[in-house]
Symmetry: C5
Subunit: 359 residues, 5 copies
């Protein structure tokens, strides 16, 4: 999460300013590919999955009593979002929030449907930083509409389970599908955290031995990632908690236990983020101590060398003076005596430094 | 936001002290130009806009069932505010708060009308800092009265939409107009934030390579701006939240979703401000580390040079002594031998420093 | 606010320990002058003001339906407080709190009357610090009794307004008088803040150029003043908020708007105090950076001078040795060559330092 | 409060682990003297006080309608606590808490009686630190049982007032006696605080002039005392607040005002502790600045002396070289000229340092 | 608690991601030994204890009215957990949480039973750090099922008390058994804290005299342990508090007092952890001051030696110059005079340093 990213996000928002509320404008990164859409319809017995080209194609499926999942992978074509608004009777402000990625995780109850915004994380190996993407979910009585920014997602295991009729997912309603999507997103956070944990461990191992400025920068970058993660997870907790305690008829009581479970996972993500933050703070302290220790080390060497040789040099200087009457100079024994004196002085100094534990 | 500005604000307040409550005195910057006033009246079909010279001129429009917006650009003429008080039956303390700019964002429900104080931000390119201006809004059953300190404002897109009958604004009541004003003000915050973000990025890029005292001062100035922004946005959140949850008959239920939307925007502003604060704190740490690293660098150079040459100088000093009996001095090979010894000593020192990674 | 002051306050409290509760003992600074008392009685038409010598003198006025203000300037004569207790039927613990100055701002509802403790601030120009004084207010159905420690107060504008029948004060009840007293005290806070703001500005201007230890001490003193102010204003906020939301029949609904207004003022004082605290923290950081920068400056000079001359001195030392066979010494060109070498070496060093931006 | 003390407390608790709950084991310091017990019975007219040897001796007094205070000075004889449990029908967990000193202040309502744990402080002049002792109070309908660890206590003024029938204590019930005990304990806190305040003032006075490591240690010790005090007072606040708001029939409404008063005192203790904490933090900052200033001072002296003499020594070195052809050496005027040059150089350096405000 | 441990925990979670919810997979450390199971059945008169091999073996005991404790020491055999789920009708998410160790302490009320997760601590003497293990408790109407990760536990005193019919445990229901388990776990925390306290004391004793980098690392490790402990105890507090205030018919009112008691113990653990954290922070400050003091010490020695000898060396250098006309050199008295001058200069310097308290 560079400063540039934040500026871009703010720039998007400020570009939007002046538009009337409810305008559907995609303000994220520009994309040119067509939006991919697919629809899955299932109940305990049947399962239909097909790729569709327009929202209208999904309507015949929606009107049956089984659960319909309309999965839209791209929010850069406002006309598609408008169609969803028209056919599913969605509030214009919801449509605006779907298009205008950069929302915080939130939940809004519009009686006929519940609108949920989540953030999906991904560790970008190339740029070596965490990227986030907005996932919007509309949960109706017998349908779920999910929007994401790009095609690649974390929902494949859910599709697999639906196809294979594994677990209880086919027996339960749309609310369980919404739960499964949220669960998949949060489980993915652990993968991102694991990747960050590895980086932290690498830095920790080399910090005391070699406290370079680059490592300091890296620690600061990681702290920023943690703040960024925290900002994604914190409101998510609130979202799930409100789903769990919801009195909306769209949420069955049987699903509540599952929301409570996913809430626990969110808490665990928070815990891990907090622990990493504490670790990084500790590493910062250790970095600063290491730098200060090295300074100390340097000062000691300077002091030891200087304070040993400066008095000796002075003595040598004295006997280098050119006074005519310096009786010592003419004795045979004085030169070795002075050398011996210098040696004793140096030894005494060394002993003094040793006692003070400087060498 | 300089210290001077705060002192001025406090000085205004302390000047006011001693006046009886409810006295309408403009205590902000003195202005001499006349207050500009205009009135807009609209419903789904009709639209009237005219410039007026006295509050009385707006009364015929007010008494019709459509929505009337009385827009007053200047609070330095107490008589105008008094007229508003008289004709619209507004509490004296509200009038005092309108005139006495420097209020925190707040909302007060007086049954017949709701009084809202907001702060509009503007990045002053000349003084290179954020300026803030008080916008007071009185929301009645079928009218909105807005006061601002100067003429230049952020409401032009709203006027444009009213004139062109774009969007749903013409179909909705006075509460939607009030919402639109608040929305315009908050959207403008993103523009200010973008400008500040640019400055932060500039500093960040040059911080490690060149940590000057001027950059430190700049970081501190930016942190202060963030505190100042935070103080404007934080109570604003509360204001909007209370509007959203309001049970006043002046707020229609249909408008609530819009207030919730603008509340989300306020949260996003807060988030950006917090992120910038975290960044600036991190930059402060990096600044200090950079300064400390440079100190380290200087110490290393000093130590390397000193500890190499001081022993050598001592040796030279010894053989510069004038003792008569120094047998080494008379051998042909001793001079090159001593030079060689000095060379070896220097090499040894360099090797020692290299191993400690000082050079 | 010196340490001594706090110790004195605690000493007063600890002296009091062991006395039975409800004992009226003045534990503040000893004073010898007589307590000055005056009584003001007013309604919309009449106004009576007189100086009195004993509490009894005020009783005939009290028993009329108009509002009576008994103003007692001094709490060092327990007998006066006891008389108030007797004639106005006040709880012994209230009387104890009036005498025992050093209370935090608080409000206590005794049904027949409301007891309010406030702190009045004053900037003592001689000792160059903020002093605080306890003001106790007893608000009854048709009377207000106010106690302060010294004669000099901030209530003169209120007396003036009562005498001249200006504003709505003469038309309203005892609760409005209590409000006016609180309002006057809070308005006075702005004057104290303005004075402190000036000092902060003075220090700020000279901090970077000349970071002396005295300025550091001054910053710490100002921070302490801010903590002290915060401790006075914070509970005051609570007091006013409880007055505003009070369901006591002693508070008329019409006065509530005024309490809300004075509450806003208290919030503004808090805001200014917090802003000053942030500023002082920033100034502390700047002070420390300035000191560290100066250290850096000193180290640079030391290093530049030392590392230039030490190698040169070594070379001079070498050719000062007394070896018999030093062939260089006998050439005519060697002396100027060595001088030239030294010059080149010094230039090289200077170039090296220039490149590192040390000089 | 040394680390050792905390370890001892924890060791006591961990020794207790494994015992079944409700076991009465004294885990504090071992004592050998017999537990002293006395009983006081009083109503408005009568007063009986006697020393007793077993809990049974107090029973005849208890069963009369007047108030009985059973005062037990020592908790190291489990049999006594067991007798109290048996005769007064006290829950085993309460008895365990009485014996197992080291409880936090707390209040538990067992309908028939209220159990209160308090901490009494004492400044130990010999060890120069604050000691704390557990006081347990059982408040019944017409009796109070108080337990303390040692004989010396702060309740003598209460006994005196009971004996002399001073104040309203003899007219009121057992709840007022409990209030009086709590009040006495809190009033004693001010004495401890005063003693700590003196120490803080002593350190403050000498900190800037002489920042020794011993003073730093002392500041840290005092901060720890403050944390320790805070931990005693903070839950105490809660205890008193719950007593004040209690709906137990054991607390008369008339006593509530007194609990509110003692609550104010607890807040004042908290305030003083917080103020001292702030002061000690400020002193820590000043200590660090002083140390850093001294370092600066030392560096300046080193730099001034070194940079003045090193160039001069170099010049002397040059003219100490033994080149045969050094024409300057043979002129009569060169020696004084060089001395003059050296003088000018030194003056220039001194001027340079003066301008930089180093000397 | 090393970084590696956290990474492992996160890795476990991220491995789990993609599995359908309610899957029972043990994700902790792999173990190969068989899970040990035992069942204890008791009422006031009878006591049966036996080792069992499958969950079915416990069923005949369960269906009697007395209390049954099924004690399972190992969660790495999913089939056992599944059997528990089947025979005791436990929700799949509960089974998942039992197997998937690494949960935070929590409580979930499923009407028929209450599910409690706790963390048991153990100080690992070999690795010199605190280890934690998950204990899951299912409390039913007349049974308790407890799961732990390894065989070694802290419940032996409870088994002993059950066998010997000591205390009230045999007289009370399943909720009292659950309480006893929680109490045993928390009592064990004190043992861990005592061990950590010893380490802290050891470091404290040697910190000022010898501030090595290893000690700094140790302080940071201990701080991390404290954060880790805090994370275990904090939610535990909440768990117990909810048990105490529970309105579930599974908790008898008589047991509530015991839960309140164990709640107090949890608070005491928190207090000790906080105190240790404060101490470690203080020790960090002292470490940094010690390092800075040593630096100061070193600088003083360097400065004293250098500033004494550098001027002397300069004087010697001057009289080592080879000018032909240096009249001083030819006087008999100049050599001793210069030596005397040097001595006086050195004495003056020493006096100067003494006055500045450097030596």
């Amino acid at each position: 999460m560079r400063c540039t990213d934040i500026r871009k996000a703010i720039a998007n928002w400020s570009k939007k300013g002046g538009l009337q509320p409810g305008t559907i404008t995609h303000v994220g990164e520009q994309r040119s590919e067509r939006v991919r859409m697919s629809v899955i319809r299932y109940d305990e017995k049947d399962f239909v999955e097909k790729r569709i080209n327009s929202v209208e194609d999904s309507l015949p499926l929606r009107d049956k009593p089984s659960v319909t999942w309309l999965d839209i992978d791209g929010v850069h074509q406002p006309e598609i979002i408008e169609q969803v608004g028209k056919h599913f009777n969605v509030h214009p402000l919801v449509l605006e929030d779907i298009a205008n990625t950069g929302q915080r995780p939130k939940i809004e109850d519009y009686e006929d449907y519940i609108f949920i915004v989540l953030r999906m994380l991904r560790f970008d190996e190339e740029e070596n930083e965490t990227k986030s993407e907005q996932v919007s979910v509309i949960l109706g009585a017998n349908f779920v509409i999910s929007f994401q920014e790009k095609e690649r997602d974390v929902f494949d295991p859910i599709r697999e389970r639906l196809r294979n009729s594994k677990g209880r997912i086919r027996k339960m309603g749309a609310d369980f599908l919404a739960y499964s999507l949220i669960d998949a997103i949060i489980d993915n956070y652990f993968i991102v955290l694991e990747r960050l944990g590895e980086t932290i461990e690498e830095i920790e191992d080399s910090l005391v031995s070699n406290p370079t400025a680059a490592r300091l920068q890296k620690i600061h970058d990681l702290r920023r990632e943690m703040i960024f993660l925290r900002k994604s997870v914190w409101p998510l907790r609130e979202v799930i908690s409100r789903l769990e305690r919801s009195e909306s008829p769209l949420i069955n009581e049987a699903t509540c236990a599952y929301f409570r479970d996913v809430y626990d996972h969110a808490i665990q993500v928070m815990d891990a983020v907090e622990t990493f933050r504490d670790m990084l703070s500790g590493m910062l302290d250790i970095y600063l101590s290491s730098v200060s220790n090295r300074m100390n080390e340097i000062m000691k060497v300077l002091t030891v060398i200087t304070t040993i040789f400066i008095p000796l040099t002075y003595i040598a200087g004295v006997y280098g003076m050119n006074f005519r009457y310096m009786p010592e100079l003419n004795q045979t024994w004085t030169y070795p005596a002075i050398l011996a004196l210098m040696f004793v002085l140096a030894m005494f100094m060394l002993f003094f430094f040793r006692r003070r534990k400087w060498i």
